[in-house]
Amino acid sequence: MSRHEARIPVGTGALDAPVFAEPWQAEAFAMVVALHERGVFSWGEWAERLSAEVKQHEAASDGSDYYERWLAALERLLAEKGLAGHDEVDAVTAAWERAAHATPHGKPILLENDPESARLSNIR
């Protein structure tokens, strides 16, 4: 048995352990459930896509990056279906990041707070 063999991150088995480490994980999870219920993809299709992502060799052996893989799988599936292209996601992500920077501490972060959003909507 190799010394470097990955240990299984055995938990406590408690019935009430938190299910998400961060809110974005919960949102990414829920989006997949919602899109499936709307018929955007079948569950088998989703499982196949997720499986491909978690099988990549750079995936963390302790599963700690599971929801990052989950999100990557969702993005690829949406891009394949022409529902949200990579460039579009990048652009809106950047807008959210600018909005966060421009929002004073203690105020909710809104996409409208993006200083460039006014300019963008003028162009449209």
Partner: protein, 203 residues
């Protein structure tokens, strides 16, 4: 093009959080998701579905032979009769531990898991270490969880799929004759329903 400044701003969005927000924005604008529905799903999985559902199924199977028989024949229907139904249209199969056989569930493909009765999977269930080792060396896996079985006990490993998911019904602990379902359910742990643990002993 402006380069990134690393000094601290008032508000920061974690890069993953920003991407999730971006997807939510795009999908909402296209009418594919409703943010209110997303909140309901999150709340459901954070507070309403979890291994307590499965514990109730197991406790009922322990105390009601007719229900146990139904659970063996048609787990999907028996579990649905308690109000727990899968959202992905998946089928359930209950696998019963016995004196001869211990059952262990894994998803080698990704992380298929019986959400309706166990909630969302723990981190270790999704970890490659568990997913690969459960099939090759189930006894070694059980040892990592602190479970040692008699050497002549068979271990059956069940590989979940998107369509078929398993619930392990652990053996009922000794000394629980006459216990009610609520009391029995307290002895059922999440791990005992995946097969990486046993039910708690009666105090």
């Amino acid at each position: 093009m402006a380069h990134d400044h690393d000094h601290h701003h008032d508000n920061e969005l974690d890069p993953m959080a920003a991407r999730v927000k971006a997807l939510e924005t795009i999908l909402t604008q296209k009418g594919l998701i409703d943010p209110a529905a997303i909140d309901v799903i999150v709340d459901t999985y954070e507070t309403k579905v979890g291994p307590r559902n499965g514990a109730r199924v197991v406790a009922k199977a322990w105390s009601d032979p007719e229900f146990a028989g139904w659970l063996k024949r048609d787990a999907t229907a028996a579990i649905a009769s308690l109000g727990y139904t899968g959202r992905q249209g998946e089928h359930m199969q209950a696998v019963f531990n016995s004196d001869e056989t211990h059952n262990l569930v894994v998803c080698t493909l990704c992380s298929c898991y019986p959400w309706s009765v166990l909630g969302l999977p723990p981190v270790w269930y999704k970890a490659p270490a568990y997913r690969s080792k459960a099939v090759i060396d189930p006894r070694g896996v059980l040892a990592e969880f602190g479970v040692t079985l008699a050497s002549d006990k068979k271990i059956r490993v069940w590989d979940s799929t998107a369509e078929l998911r398993y619930l392990v019904v652990p053996q009922r602990p000794e000394g629980t004759q006459g216990w009610g379902e609520v009391q029995l359910a307290e002895l059922v742990t999440r791990d005992s329903m995946i097969g990486t643990g046993l039910a708690r002993e009666a105090q």
